[in-house]
Symmetry: C2
Subunit: 119 residues, 2 copies
């Protein structure tokens, strides 16, 4: 069996499943409500819900007919904690890019703002 973080990432690797999670940030929803925006059969949506449920990203109520789904925060917190160690890395990268663009802008200025004709 996969480790919890791998199971979470695998569950997030699908646009339909991410759209379902986005919908659930607005509150609980039934399977039928969740299926509505998708050109997809109810069994196909249920399959996606099972993947999300196995990853602990959603939980489903026990009421026989309704069984509303809700978002669960735990695994997303885990992803965020994992991401944290890379934050400094990508922030630095984008700062370096900014600095580079500043240097380019300054160069443009000192070379007298030559016009570049389009190819």
């Amino acid at each position: 069996m996969a480790d919890p973080l791998s199971t979470t990432f695998a569950a997030l690797a699908d646009p339909t499943r991410r759209a379902i999670l986005a919908r659930l940030t607005g509150g609980e929803a039934t399977v039928t409500e969740l299926a509505e925006p998708f050109a997809m059969s109810l069994p196909a949506v249920s399959k996606h819900l099972r993947v999300l449920q196995r990853a602990g990203l959603i939980a489903q109520g026990r009421e026989a007919q309704w069984r509303p789904c809700r978002l669960e925060a735990g695994p997303l917190k885990q992803v965020s904690d994992w991401m944290e160690r890379y934050r400094s890395f990508w922030e630095e990268s984008f700062e370096r890019l900014d600095e580079y663009l500043e240097v380019l802008k300054t160069k443009e200025g000192t070379t007298g703002g030559r016009d570049h004709s389009p190819d």
Copy 2:
């Protein structure tokens, strides 16, 4: 073909690939250096590197023999941006849990700190 975010999440859904990324936060490394900590053949590691490369999470130099790999920040920034909309959600969840634990502690206090004998 999968959308970029799905490709990134799929690439992150493996502990070996996440360990490779973690190693690369310390700087560039060759395939042989990256393979060292794993009980894994070089082709098996190369396969993981190709998945990371296709997701744009790493880039590999062009020097024939060495071809050092380095971490690329872009896709991780994308994941972080995606996560951002869920941040308030899990922060609230954990605050609610804290509040609940506070209530439990207060209750413990007002019921006179009864001893619970272990079962």
